[in-house]
Symmetry: C2
Subunit: 192 residues, 2 copies
């Protein structure tokens, strides 16, 4: 289970087996059933979760009750409401399991303590935050400046293996369009 976490970390920093042992002791394994919530808007986000199995949708529910999916967190991704977790304020995001999931999660006090115990974890999260920033910058630009077709192409590039695990409605909610419009885009792309 934590082999995936080890590989994820090893991409960014050099870490010995002992250090990883110390690192991973702060994580708890949890199983989350399909359709269960890891977080609901209004709650405080207590955990950052590393997904080892399954897929979550991380979304915002607007005042009309429409789901706006920010991102999907699947194997080898992290799921959290960064605003709520960092500032320990009520979340505005929902995190819901789309499949039966397994996660490794760390709470804020343990994460804060980890920075003291293992200073190289600062580098790790500095780099991971940087990568998430790049992803968020791309997401902002997409959502404010790109066409639905461009957004769909970006989705398939970002999540190359995910399309078959999601419904058309979920993909449309990520793209901010109706699923009828998504069908049209897919038809246009395939030239039918």
């Amino acid at each position: 289970m934590s082999a995936l976490l080890f590989k994820n970390i090893e991409k960014h920093i050099q870490i010995t087996d002992e250090e990883f042992e110390q690192f991973s002791r702060n994580f708890q394994l949890r199983k989350v059933k399909k359709k269960d919530f890891l977080l609901r808007a209004g709650e405080i986000c207590r955990y950052e979760a590393f997904v080892t199995k399954g897929c979550f949708k991380v979304y915002y529910l607007n005042e009309n009750g429409t789901q706006q999916i920010l991102y999907f967190a699947t194997e080898d991704w992290w799921a959290t409401d960064i605003d709520s977790f960092t500032n320990q304020i009520p979340a505005i995001l929902h995190i819901e399991a789309l499949e039966d999931c397994e996660i490794l999660c760390i709470n804020k006090p343990d994460k804060d303590a980890l920075f003291e115990q293992l200073p190289k974890v600062e580098k790790l999260f500095r780099i991971m935050n940087q990568r998430t920033l790049v992803a968020f910058q791309r997401r902002v630009i997409s959502s404010i400046g790109k066409t639905a077709t461009e957004r769909y192409m970006e989705f398939t590039a970002k999540y190359p293996d995910l399309e078959n695990r999601l419904t058309q409605l979920q993909i449309a909610a990520y793209l901010g369009i109706t699923h009828e419009f998504l069908n049209k885009i897919k038809k246009n792309i395939s030239g039918n």
Copy 2:
């Protein structure tokens, strides 16, 4: 000039005068005239800039030639195309001075070396990246899930002193609406 940078850093980490001296040696002071570009899309973003005077708009030009302003970087903010700077790939953002500006800028090799020389800089940028992530998360949610009025309210909360320094067109380009619609929103809010 660098007193502002010192104060900015001191919010996040404890740093001695000697360490700050070592830190700030990696920054160069630059003046950028109103309407000049710090970065154009297609160039590689060589610098991260800390703004000590003036205001920049950081924007994306969509295929219709419409400016979509991602954020304004004014005194005490950082301006960069994080994707281009981190990965040294062509930028998709333009960074343009809206006023005569002064910045302190650091290039990538110097920033990378700084992490080795002064490990506490890892903590600094981990925390700053985290804060930027929170801001980006809010921006994504606004742009995909909130009404124009809500986005305008968020703008005034985020930039409490900036409205008078910007044109209505610039604010509208940040909100992703026409300036006629912005006028309508402002009239509704003031109850006229």
